[in-house]
């Protein structure tokens, strides 16, 4: 009989696909991506949670507005597509993010919704990030 308490099967389940914003524990301001010092109340973050708290991860996503976009033909090494679209969006909570754009005819100001998908393949691991699509 195998002792099923020895193996941690959680490690083999795919992580919940989210992109996280970080919430300052002192003043509650949301940040994306995570800084070390809160720009509003100067609180410090500690990812190991030893000296200070490692800030709370809050899933970031949902409805957003497109601020600007581009279609890039000259992609860096590692990308083999003919072109990819990218955009910068603003979420309803005021946070902004860059990401892949899945809309072929984008317009500044259009309403989108964010998804999380594979945006880059690195050796041994996939990198997940924002993909913005029509709502």
């Amino acid at each position: 009989m195998i002792d099923t308490n020895v193996v941690d099967f959680e490690k083999y389940r795919p992580a919940r696909l989210e992109v996280y914003a970080y919430k300052c524990p002192e003043c509650g301001t949301l940040h994306y991506p995570a800084p070390m010092i809160c720009k509003d109340c100067s609180a410090r973050r500690d990812p190991s949670g030893v000296l200070f708290s490692s800030w709370e991860k809050v899933p970031l996503g949902g409805k957003c507005t497109l601020l600007s976009w581009t279609r890039v033909y000259a992609l860096p090494e590692g990308f083999d597509a003919r072109y990819l679209l990218f955009g910068i969006v603003e979420f309803e909570n005021g946070l902004r993010a860059s990401g892949r754009l899945l809309v072929e005819e984008p317009k500044i100001g259009m309403k989108l919704v964010s998804k999380v998908g594979v945006v880059r393949e690195k050796i041994g691991e996939d990198v997940y990030g924002f993909m913005f699509d029509r709502s």
Binding site: P33, V72, A74, S98, I108
Partner: protein, 399 residues
């Protein structure tokens, strides 16, 4: 604060120099500067060397190149360090050199910037430049500098009605200047018809990152440039009798947010404005005093945007100046008389130094025929790092 002058300048041709070793290229420009200053035999009076370079580790598999350069040109036991500040490394190295002299730590400083980017393919070079972006929020997506410049251009076009034709006119002007510059990378001019007007222009001048096209951005270049600085009150000035020194009157630098999406107004280049304000303050000058300028046009839109942020033109109005010919050589405010990064080339570490090289050449009256600005007094160089998040401005004047 001690006054600092530039007493020697050197430059290699910019282009494809990938068959040469990085430190050899930088040594060549440094030796040129020593010769120009007339101190090849007395080279050991150089107390300090600052090297500007970004890619030695990633592209050329070399590190600690400042030490390597010192030995290559027999300058031991001078102090030597490498300064890395992305595309603004050159001006930052100059700022370090100035600071060393002003603090009294050195009397004579050599500043050399160099890069060999064509040792790798264009796609690796694009990836290398993209590493200056935020790793998680930007780089991972495959976003590139052209992508952000394109998004900036799109917003600028929407807000101020800039047209593709006006952007193309800036490129044509830059190439008209570059063709007269023997160091420039691009050996041909482009015509407005060739890159915008003809029925073939859409294909010949193809999109790189919509709406930016091939002829809206600088090439990938190798090359090096070098400057020799000396404290004007130092006894060592007696070595520099060949040519009158050009004075560094003002230096300013500033940073802005790393992530592009954190900028409050994405069209505002706060770091450019602040660094220019600081430089003006130190120099005791204002935008109206500047005779000519080298503005960091890695993307042609930046020549326009930077000229507005430093106060030359009102927001959205710089393109009128271009259309009226004010920024041509012979115009009221010549911009990028060297051809700019667009026609001259952009080896990342060398650019900031190369811009000041051009300021000195013009202020000395040594520019090639057809390229000389008439009676310049003050010149300004803006070296743009990251995508606007680290900018260094330098103002140089005739003594």
């Amino acid at each position: 604060m001690r006054k600092v002058g530039i007493v020697g300048i050197g430059h290699t041709v910019f282009g494809n120099l990938s068959e040469f070793d990085l430190v050899d290229i930088m040594s060549f420009a440094s030796a040129d500067a020593l010769d120009d200053a007339g101190i090849r035999k007395e080279r050991k009076i150089v107390d300090q060397v600052f090297v500007a370079n970004v890619g030695a580790g990633m592209l050329n598999h070399q590190t600690a190149i400042a030490s390597s350069l010192v030995s290559r040109i027999d300058l031991e036991p001078a102090m030597a360090e490498t300064v890395e500040n992305g595309p603004a490394s050159g001006a930052s190295a100059l700022k370090c050199g100035y600071t060393a002299i002003a603090a009294g730590l050195a009397d004579v400083v050599m500043v050399t910037g160099g890069e060999v980017m064509r040792a790798v393919t264009g796609w690796k070079a694009t990836d290398f430049v993209a590493t200056l972006l935020h790793p998680e929020a930007e780089y991972n997506y495959g976003l590139t500098l052209p992508a952000f410049a394109a998004m900036f251009t799109r917003l600028y076009m929407e807000r101020y009605g800039l047209t593709e034709e006006e952007l193309a006119m800036v490129a044509v002007k830059d190439h008209d200047n570059g063709i007269k510059n023997p160091y420039a990378h691009v050996p041909y001019t482009c015509t407005l018809e060739g890159i915008y007007g003809s029925s073939d222009a859409q294909v010949v001048n193809n999109l790189i990152a919509d709406p930016l096209r091939l002829y809206n951005m600088c090439p990938v270049s190798d090359g090096a440039a070098s400057l020799i600085l000396c404290a004007l009150d130092s006894a060592k000035m007696k070595h520099f009798k060949k040519k009158p020194p050009v004075v560094i009157r003002g230096i300013g630098a500033a940073t802005d947010t790393h992530c592009i999406h954190h900028r409050e107004d994405p069209l505002e280049l706060k770091a450019v404005r602040l660094s220019a304000e600081r430089a003006y303050k130190m120099a005791g000058l204002g935008p109206k005093d500047i005779s000519f300028a080298e503005l960091h046009d890695a993307f042609v839109i930046l020549e326009l945007a930077i000229s507005e942020e430093v106060g030359f033109f009102k927001k959205g109005k710089s393109r009128d100046a271009v259309v009226q010919g004010l920024t041509r050589i012979g115009g009221k405010l010549p911009i990028n008389t060297s051809g700019g990064l667009k026609a001259k080339g952009h080896p990342l570490g060398a650019t900031g130094v190369s811009q000041v090289f051009e300021l000195v050449k013009q202020l000395r009256g040594e520019a090639e025929e057809g390229r000389q600005v008439g009676n310049p007094i003050h010149g300004m160089a803006v070296n743009f790092g990251g995508f606007g998040n680290n900018v260094v401005t330098t103002i140089c004047s005739k003594e």
